[in-house]
């Protein structure tokens, strides 16, 4: 401690170490205060956990898109939050139509399945178009170039959709079947949260099957490992990259609907920004480029966001702790990057990946 690699005393290392100790102390003291005061009952903790898992599974679905693209191109697709928005925003009109005909409440499961498919396809189309038009021509250029382009694409999509659908918030119609709660003893968990978690789980199992079992999934892994050798296998690299963007887009669009159904404030053109940043955080937390890492990172971030403020911040006597969940989220990112730079499941970045 307090020494740099050559064994000399270093103020920078000293400061970082002091910070580490302070952060750990703050977490321990805050958690101890909260737990010993007994302000929050077990049932409430379980509720927070369920809410966190439900929010986290949305993050996980979006995070997968970041991690898939990074795994194959070593590029952060900063327009991915907007891909999520595109599906969610467009599907609002589809949901309205389904609601007007009454189909949404007569056949809620089928209707939601249709909406998820619809949003997935919309987001997939947007993701694929962005790759084809904005990223592919820049392949092989220095890494800063596609990064700036991605930020540009992100703004373009936001304002294009504002132009298309207007800037007001639009709330999805309510689905009666998804209201209410499941009661287990004195714990009640909203049906909505169970639904979100289960649909995300199904999508993630689907992705796992795709990547591990199908030929195109193996080709995705082969391309991410060595593009040149993949070409020697007869794999069309450009097609596999496009497919990867499409899969990431589909997951983001599905997440958009699953999220949109339970956003009381509604969807708008700007809704992708914060979830996009959070999902990116989740992907980094889990180890970017690593698929199980993105799933785990998303769930982890959701749970920490839900439990952290009540456990740590409230215990330290900070007022309005729940409004500070973003602080917790990004503090977690900094902490993970300090203690485990490669993320929870990530491998150490080798020269080829760094």
């Amino acid at each position: 401690m307090f020494r740099n690699k050559s064994g000399e005393f270093s103020w920078v290392d000293f400061t970082i170490d002091v910070l580490r100790v302070l952060i750990v102390l703050a977490v321990v003291v805050g958690a101890w205060n909260t737990l010993s005061s007994g302000r929050i009952s077990l049932a409430q903790w379980v509720n927070l956990l369920a809410a966190g898992l439900s929010q986290g599974s949305i993050y996980a679905l979006i995070a997968l898109g970041y991690t898939l693209v990074y795994g194959i191109l070593l590029m952060i697709n900063f327009a991915h939050g907007e891909v999520f928005m595109a599906g969610a925003f467009t599907t609002f009109f589809f949901a309205e139509a389904l609601n007007r005909t009454g189909f949404l409440n007569e056949q809620p499961l089928l209707a939601i399945l249709l909406m998820i498919l619809f949003a997935g396809l919309v987001s997939m189309t947007v993701a694929v178009l962005v790759e084809r038009i904005a990223y592919r021509p820049l392949r092989g250029s220095p890494r800063l170039v596609p990064l700036i382009t991605a930020i540009g694409a992100s703004f373009f999509l936001q304002y294009a959709f504002r132009g298309l659908y207007g800037s007001s918030f639009k709330a999805y119609p309510q689905v009666r079947a998804l209201q209410g709660a499941v009661q287990i003893g004195d714990i009640s968990i909203p049906v909505a949260q169970i639904f979100v978690f289960c649909s995300a789980l199904v999508l993630m199992i689907g992705l796992h099957w795709l990547v591990e079992r199908t030929r195109i999934g193996k080709a995705m892994r082969a391309v991410s490992e060595n593009k040149e050798v993949a070409r020697l296998m007869g794999i069309d690299i450009d097609w596999v990259i496009l497919f990867t963007f499409g899969v990431g887009g589909f997951l983001a669009g599905s997440a958009g609907v699953i999220n949109g159904l339970f956003r009381p404030q509604g969807v708008n053109f700007y809704m992708g920004f914060i979830p996009g940043i959070k999902a990116f955080t989740a992907a980094v937390l889990g180890g970017i480029g690593n698929i199980p890492g993105a799933m785990l990172g998303g769930l982890f971030l959701g749970v920490i966001e839900a439990i952290g403020p009540n456990l740590v911040l409230a215990g330290l006597g900070i007022p309005g702790a729940n409004q500070l969940k973003d602080v917790i989220a990004f503090t977690m990112l900094v902490l993970v990057l300090i203690f485990r730079p490669q993320g929870i499941l990530g491998e150490r970045l080798s020269e080829t990946k760094a």
Partner: protein
């Protein structure tokens, strides 16, 4: 007619003129050895034929058709398969998945038969079929790379330094496999630093020197050639 005709190709890395007008031909069912020292342009020649690099001048005719600017992935379906230098196995895919990737362009139903014959040729791979390729030894990786290249059922197999980094006993295994592949009618273009081994199994050979073909002859004559003996076979 030759299966492969390379006519006066010029290939560049940026501004570096790596191939300065290389010409040679490969007939059906031949084993051709390309020998030469480091930097002579052997690997570049294979990369240009396989479509990984495009020549700036000259042309390549394969099976009667010009392929100089055809993408590598399209040439695989036309029957050109390459084992890259350093093997290039997918470390995070299992042995079986690697072989499956070799058969990526196949649309027929006989892939599993070919998988069996790959395992028959290299029984070591069968024992390790569920293992990640990254956990294999160097020799096993080379066997995997060769077996994988065969999974596309090539007519022309390009081999880049298959003996590199292998223990002598494994070099023998690999060269026996190459001979067996050739005896089944696959045409082979073999790049080797180990000129001694290469000329033993080849029909004809070409010696590359600073991006040009310096000598071309039958393998038997090359083995007797004084320059070749001195420079590449270590015989004084």
């Amino acid at each position: 007619m030759a299966l492969l005709e390379v006519n006066d190709i010029h290939t560049f890395y940026g501004n570096i003129h790596a191939l300065k007008g290389v010409s040679f031909e490969v007939d059906n069912a031949e084993i051709i050895a390309l020998i030469g020292s480091n930097g002579a342009g052997k690997t570049t020649t294979l990369r240009t034929i396989s479509g990984l690099m495009a020549p700036r001048g000259g042309n390549i005719v394969y099976d009667g058709r010009e392929i100089s600017s055809t993408r590598a992935d399209l040439l695989v379906a036309r029957g050109i398969s390459m084992v890259p230098e350093g093997r290039g196995v997918f470390a995070k895919l299992t042995v079986e998945e690697n072989l499956d990737m070799g058969a990526y362009v196949r649309t027929d139903d006989d892939v599993s038969e070919d998988l069996d014959s790959a395992f028959e040729m290299f029984p070591r791979l069968q024992e390790r079929r569920k293992q990640f390729a990254g956990t294999l030894s160097g020799g096993e990786q080379q066997m995997l790379a060769i077996a994988r290249a065969l999974m596309s059922r090539p007519r022309l197999l390009l081999l880049d330094e298959p003996s590199m980094g292998l223990a002598p006993v494994l070099v023998d295994v690999v060269f026996e496999a190459i001979q067996r592949i050739a005896s089944e009618g696959v045409t082979i273009l073999l790049v080797e630093q180990n000129a001694h081994m290469a000329l033993q199994i080849a029909n004809r050979g070409y010696v590359l020197q600073s991006g040009e073909v310096a000598i071309s002859d039958t393998a038997a004559n090359l083995q007797q050639n004084e320059v070749v003996q001195k420079t590449y076979l270590g015989i004084d």
